[in-house]
Amino acid sequence: MNSSPRAGWLALPYGLWLLAAFAAPLGAVALLSVQESSEMFAPLSLLPSGAQYAELLGDRFYVRVFLNTIWLGLGVAAASTFLAYPLALWLTRLPPRWKPVGFAVVLVPLLTNVVVRSLGIILLLAPRGIVSGIGQFFGLPPSNLLFGWFAVGLALTQVFLPYMVLALYDVLDGQDKRLEEAAAGLGAGPAMRFLRVILPLSLPGLRAGLTVTFLMASTAYVSATLVGGRKVWVSGMVVLKEGMEILNYPLAAALAMMMLGASVVVTILIGRAIGFLTPWVTGRAPRFRLSLPPGLRRPLVAVAEAAAPVVSRFLLALAIGVLIFPLLLVAVASVNDSPQATVAQFVGFTWKWYGMVLQNERYLSDAWVSVKLALACVAISLAIALPASFALVRAGFRGREVLGAALMLPLALPGIAIGLGMLRLLQWFTALPPFMGVLAVHVVLVAPFMLALLRASVAGLDRTLEEAASGLGAPPARVFRKVILPQLGPGIAVACVIGFLLSFGEVTVTAFLTTARLQTLPVRIYAESTFSLENTVNAISTIFILMTVAMLILVNRFMPLDRVWKR
């Protein structure tokens, strides 16, 4: 089983699914991007033209937006990394009873509506906001941090941080605690233990986290629109504007394809860099070793050890604050007797928004559709992503990194571009049963996340246990059930929770696919927000958060979120 090329076939179901449900919209976008005419109703030409790409590359504005977007993605990935490590370590050290609550804290931003989250950022950064207030208390002039790159970066970090934390959680939880103890016994302080033991061993998880946060941040556009105040332009916004408002599909498609290309390159580079830093995974000798002269090393280590407790606590507090801030706003707003959703002032107390949600059968039936969709989506995604993750970790063929990047493609194409591609295919799509059609697309959007997380978990498996079981005569199926699955339990649970939430909350692509027969709850909320957001949205978010805590407690019962036997 060690590095067998045959394991590559395990990626086949996943690949087939992508071919069936993703190749078509991607093909449509690719074909649109090589059209010479930007005319809406011009017949599609099969003769490729580089006109759209030439226009993009010849325009300094587009080039600047494109590069800024990539920088933004890298910045958000880096910021998430710094905040996620203390948080993920805190999560692994929580007593089992408190785990579900800890997870719920991490998941809060994913459960709150993007508009409400953005209102929170505005409240935080506005001239009369909290940060400015604290600054003024210390004698600084009033500051306006809103409507700029900082605000957009903060908004994106807030919502993508959970993915990074969960990607790191499983590899950190799976680490052999004796290694850290050994390092401590040999005199390493907390800073050195982190830098020399914990961090290197968690790099496969970091790869998953960096990939996911980069891809999501570089394709996001809603937060940038809401808190960037249109002074910040990212590629997704240009795709939306050219594609949806101006109806210039070819230009929008060409920009989306450029983003796709850049994302693939960055994904491969991240994979290469992590591979370079983890030579032991493939059994290679390290290519280089960072060493400082002893005279420099000793004071540096002393400073690091002295600073570590303060810095890690500060980062942990900051991360928790960033995550649960929206929760406070949402909970308060959900009982605010104001006709429009606002966080600026409390008008009066009321339960009426909850009443409106719970008595309105339309909300309930849409929520039920979303739940069914998300459950089916998670089941299928797990069934195709788990074998694929074994293929990526254990198959010993060349081009594994390229295959890995290819399987992440749906994340690299902005959701809005997938929507554009689907528009071209609507007449075929509407021939499918509505539930199946939307499900097929949701799996495409969710499976890459689950693959990224599961890949890190599979990489962390202790192979000696499998070899021991096989040596004692256990058939492969039994090895899988009795040895592999228990080790993967927390990883699978985390991946499923993320997958469920992603499908449950998806709106960008689903908004194009909604028909009279199938409407999801997020699309309903989005439709309401396009006119005016009411506090029912906040009531729904609060209910979701409570339900998530309940769900996590349940999951924890049947599939423990940590590895008890490792303690």
């Binding site: 504005f61 249109r230 408002e245 104001s338 554009l420 609507l426 009279a516 439709a527 309401e528 396009t530």
Partner: protein, 347 residues
């Protein structure tokens, strides 16, 4: 005898009506079990039209009205992608989107098939059936300006320097703002340069807003002093949340904006769609819109209590005072202006 007469009358009526019924094709009749698909915004829009249009039709004809809720961009993009074989029978667009859709063969022009068509103001008959006047005007925070704003030129006053929240282009508000700027600085739809030059002079903006909700959030947080927005819903906001906000009535006039019901070309439920629109144009439905969100009626045969009437655009004179534009030119220039706006104003 009387039975005889009425039977004869019935036969005669049937004989007269037969050619009319057979002459119109199937789309022109409402049959039990028909399903109408309506693309519209959520929230108050869904509530009011369900109450006044969908439910009565479902009760009366045994039909089913399906709503596809969403934002205008998705709705419009889908209608374009499905031109000629639409999944929507009826969808709602803004003033220039609706006119463009008729030109592009995506939706149909209005016709007298809808009985309430006869009550529409002339300007509400173009590009489909306008169901609401929702004019765009100056809105500002009275605490943050030196004097009330009474002209579109007031945005360029010294006391507003750095405090203007400009609306993004191409939305309904951004389009009106751009065109009004052109107008007050000696330009027009065919000479847009003065608008861009002068709007650029307003930089730096306090912010650029992309929707009414976003603007209200900004007003809540004291981000800026004045912007360009729909007067209707902003009045609701001012009355319920922020009494410092003033809806101005500038001397040059408010810019026209409408919500338009558009029946798709190729729909198989034209008669049902027309019945839906007809109910939307009924005095009861129009009054509900006016009371709930201050949308002004597009029909002439509705009246209001003086207190509410003062907040609406009512009567031929008031409608004619709304500033109208050459929308064909506006549509034709949209890609170019959008690109300029992104580079010279936002960006």
């Amino acid at each position: 005898m009387s039975i005889q007469t009425s039977r004869r009358a019935l036969l005669a009526a049937a004989a007269l009506a037969a050619p009319a019924i057979w002459g119109r094709d199937a789309v022109a009749q409402i049959r039990r079990g028909d399903e109408l698909t309506v693309g519209i915004w959520g929230g108050a829009q869904e509530r009011i039209t369900r109450q006044f249009c969908a439910t009565p039709l479902e009760r009366q004809h045994g039909v089913k009205i399906n709503y596809v809720l969403g934002g205008t961009p998705e709705r419009r993009a889908r209608a374009y992608a499905e031109r000629g074989r639409p999944s929507f029978d009826l969808l709602y667009l803004n003033i220039f989107e609706s006119r463009q859709a008729v030109k592009d063969g995506v939706t149909m022009a209005s016709s007298a098939n809808v009985p309430n068509f006869a009550n529409l103001y002339d300007i509400a008959k173009i590009g489909g059936y306008a169901v609401a006047f929702n004019p765009v005007t100056i809105v500002y925070d009275r605490r943050k300006v030196a004097a009330p704003m009474t002209s579109w030129r007031d945005f360029w006053r010294d006391d507003l320097k750095g405090k203007v929240i400009w609306p993004t282009y191409p939305g309904a508000q951004g389009t009106s703002a751009l065109l009004m700027a052109a107008k007050v600085w000696g330009g027009s739809e065919s000479n847009i340069d003065p608008a861009f030059t002068n709007i650029a002079r307003l930089r730096p903006f306090a912010a650029i807003q992309g929707s009414q909700d976003q603007l209200y959030g900004m007003f809540d947080q004291d981000v800026g002093a004045a912007s360009v927005e729909f007067g209707s819903f902003t009045r609701k906001y001012a009355e319920t949340r922020n009494p410092n906000i003033v809806i101005a009535d500038p001397t040059e006039g408010q810019a026209i904006a409408t919500n338009v019901a558009c029946i798709t070309t190729g729909t198989r439920n034209q008669a049902l769609a027309e019945a839906f629109v007809n109910l939307h144009l009924s005095p009861e439905c129009q009054a509900a819109y006016a009371e709930e969100i201050y949308y002004s009626p597009t029909i002439k045969n509705v009246s209001f209590a003086p207190e509410l009437a003062a907040k609406l655009i009512l009567g031929e004179a008031a409608v004619n005072k709304l500033v109208d534009f050459n929308w064909d030119l506006v549509i034709a220039n949209q890609p170019r202006w959008s690109s300029r706006f992104t580079r010279e104003i936002a960006g």
